[in-house]
């Protein structure tokens, strides 16, 4: 056996693994969801029709295919419950991502400017919260924010307020929870970009007469844009689909799409509509990814 064959076969197998993974754990389940989204709800087990029965013969399968329809998607568009949920999700994601960027950038910048030996420690501090389960940390926030929670007790003790303030089940509590949870995902890609940036570029800008602000605005920031894009995507996409944080920390008057989905699926047992909403959400989230991909490709072509 030639050396080439020895090396290429495992290499090829290794290259297949991610595709296999995607097919098995993304494409196949997505096919199920897609199929359910085209079905009708029913009081049955499973709670929709038609159900494919592969043993029933070709004719039955043909009938089942004919029974599929886009009714659920029409419902999504016609009922503004869904539209409002989507809009609220987008709004919350845009606002939170904006705040995350505003908070995360200075932190990442500061970390990248620390002496080398402190940078590792700072990085640890950013990652340390992951050692505790996300849910436990959100429950901890409930504890802090509730009527007789830590925050109100401190405020009362300092005589900053005379009455306990309502924190829990408010918009502020939800944003606090989202920003707290997603901050590491904003900081880490920004830090990675800023830390590997050549400091000589900033010195060159200063040398050519740029004030510290101009150095940042004309050199540091534009060169950190790939990190900004990565951080924004990493936060924006999961926040749009966020369920746990708004469910536990926000009031119940306006729902994000994740909550609506949950409601349809578990409370209303309307799997087909829930599936249609999920498919639509996925398509919606593909847009920023495609834009990002386009930008990267353009940059790559410019280099060539």
């Amino acid at each position: 056996m030639s050396a080439r064959a020895i090396f290429t076969r495992p290499a090829r197998l290794a290259a297949i693994v991610p595709y296999l993974w995607m097919v098995l754990f993304f494409l196949v389940p997505f096919g199920f969801v897609m199929k359910i989204s085209l079905s009708q709800t029913a009081i049955a087990q499973p709670p929709y029709t038609p159900a494919f029965d592969l043993t029933a013969g070709l004719a039955a399968i043909g009938d089942a295919l004919a029974a599929l329809s886009l009714d659920n998607f029409r419902l999504l568009i016609s009922d503004d419950l869904y539209l409002l949920s989507y809009l609220r999700s987008l709004f919350v994601a845009v606002v939170s991502t904006g705040i995350l960027l505003l908070i995360g950038y200075p932190i990442a910048y500061g970390m990248a400017r620390l002496p080398r030996r402190w940078q590792g420690i700072a990085m640890m501090l950013v990652i340390v919260p992951f050692w505790t389960s996300f849910l436990i940390r959100i429950y901890a926030w409930i504890n802090i924010l509730q009527h007789d929670g830590l925050l109100n007790r401190v405020l009362l003790a300092l005589h900053l307020v005379s009455q306990p303030v309502v924190w829990l089940s408010t918009e502020s509590a939800m944003y606090l929870g989202i920003i707290y949870s997603y901050l590491p995902f904003m900081i880490l890609p920004l830090y990675a970009t800023l830390a590997k940036m050549d400091r000589a570029l900033e010195e060159a800008a200063a040398d050519l007469g740029a004030s510290p602000f101009k150095v940042f605005w004309l050199v540091t920031f534009p060169l950190s844009l790939p990190g900004v894009a990565a951080g924004v995507l990493l936060c924006f996409i999961p926040i749009v689909g966020e369920f746990v944080i708004p469910d536990l920390l926000a009031g119940s008057n306006a729902l994000m799409i994740g909550q609506t989905l949950w409601l349809e699926f578990f409370t209303n047992k309307d799997w087909p509509v829930a599936s249609a909403a999920a498919v639509f959400l996925l398509v919606l989230l593909l847009i920023p990814l495609l834009v990002y991909d386009r930008l990267q490709r353009r940059q790559f072509e410019e280099v060539k």
Binding site: D198, A200, L201, E203, A204, A205, A206, D207, L208, G209, A210, S211, P212, K214, V215, L218, V219, P222, L223, E302, V303
Partner: protein, 400 residues
């Protein structure tokens, strides 16, 4: 005495006899008039207790091309970075036109730097890179446009204005960096190993261009390099640095022919060193008893040497070789400093041939000879017995 006459003849036949230049006190500025453009006074910079720059003082005249030469880690970049404003000196002053700039921020100094790896802005075109400093200076659009065009023409980059740095070759990038740092017409331009990344041929042609640009614009350049050929080629004066100190500041000729210490003599170029003791002092002539080369006659150095233990140093090209045997030539027969030995190594280098001669004392000396003819009639073979001789004037006397 014949040998003395010979020695004198030798001096006279050498074009541009060094005697006058070598006799000058070297630290004074050539044609110094009034205030120097830049005066560095006792500048010290330590990093965590280690003195990277340790009490450097020097003056630079406007329009001068100065090279800082030294081994890696000797503090050249640190000194340059202090001049650019990226490091603050712990001690000392740096006067630019009489004003202390030690505390002036980098963006407010009339000094520009060309960075070692060019530090071109990767997100900006060639034009925008060159225009960067001009925009900060608040020039009008039209002025910027004219100046950029001028710079692009100066460094021969016409037609590449719209390219990004990563679409350029190493040589082209180097030119953009030069144009960018020249665009603001700095009073002082600092160049940190500007040619290190270029291959030999390109480096040599770029050296010539650098000198041409410097002369044409009448600017003051300080170039940092660890390449002594480069320093000698481009600079009016060379400052040799060793372990944070300025070991010698002199013209290339002074540095090579009259190094101030053994370290400098051995760092700049090749040299043979014989350690010994001063035995006798005549008028302008010392006799030194050496371990490896017997008794040598040496001219008395300008700065009298106090110690009796000295080193006599001589450059390989100043050693002459002659055949031994019945037809001993007149010159070698009467030479004052005359050694005998066997050729132990021959390296043909094109323009010159480098020989190693194993002396009868066992010591090995290096001699190099110009290949003035195409055929190897003058060449010596391995194992051949030769006479090695040299004049007292060609020796340099140094502390051990």
């Amino acid at each position: 005495m014949m040998a003395e006459e010979l020695a004198r003849t030798h001096d006279e036949t050498e074009p541009g006899a060094p005697a006058a230049e070598l006799g000058k006190p070297e630290s004074s500025l050539p044609d110094a008039v009034g205030m120097p453009l830049l005066r560095i006074e006792g500048v010290v910079k330590a990093f965590g207790g280690v003195r990277a720059v340790d009490g450097v003082s020097l003056d630079i005249r406007a329009g001068e091309f100065l090279a800082l030469l030294g081994p890696s880690g000797c503090g050249k970049t640190t000194l340059l970075r202090m001049l650019a404003g990226f490091e603050t000196p712990d001690e000392g002053r740096m006067l630019l036109n009489g004003r202390d700039i030690a505390q002036v921020l980098p963006h407010e100094r009339p000094v520009n730097m060309m960075f070692q790896n060019y530090a071109l802005f990767p997100h900006l075109s060639v034009r925008d890179n060159i225009a960067f400093g001009l925009k900060r200076a608040g020039l009008s659009r039209a002025e910027i446009k004219d100046r950029v065009a001028e710079m692009v023409a100066l460094v021969k980059l016409k037609g590449l204005e719209k390219r990004r740095p990563d679409q350029l070759s190493g040589g082209q990038r180097q030119r953009v960096a030069l144009a960018r740092s020249l665009a603001r017409c700095p009073q002082l331009l600092l160049l940190d190993e500007p040619l290190a990344a270029l291959d030999k041929k390109l480096r040599e042609s770029t050296q010539a261009e650098l000198m041409e640009v410097q002369r044409r614009l009448g600017m003051t350049f300080i170039i940092v390099t660890h390449d002594q050929d480069e320093a000698m080629t481009v600079a009016d004066r060379i400052g040799v640095m060793n372990a944070g100190r300025l070991a010698q500041l002199a013209t290339p000729r002074q540095l090579y022919e009259a190094p101030r210490s053994r370290w400098i003599a051995e760092f700049v170029g090749d040299i043979n060193v014989f350690e010994g003791k001063i035995e006798a002092r005549e008028t302008s002539r010392l006799t030194v008893a050496t371990r490896d080369a017997g008794t040598l006659a040496v001219v008395e150095p300008r700065d009298a040497i106090g110690k009796a233990n000295v080193a006599v140093a001589i450059r390989p090209e100043k050693l002459k070789l002659s055949r031994q045997g019945p037809a001993v030539d007149v010159a070698s027969a009467h030479a004052v400093n005359r050694l005998e030995g066997v050729i132990s190594d021959v390296s043909y280098l094109g323009g010159t041939t480098s020989y190693k001669v194993k002396l009868d004392s066992g010591a090995v000396v290096r001699a190099s000879m110009s290949n003035t003819t195409r055929l190897d009639v003058d060449a010596y073979g391995l194992g051949q017995r030769v006479v090695v001789w040299f004049t007292p004037d060609d020796c340099v006397m140094l502390d051990q």
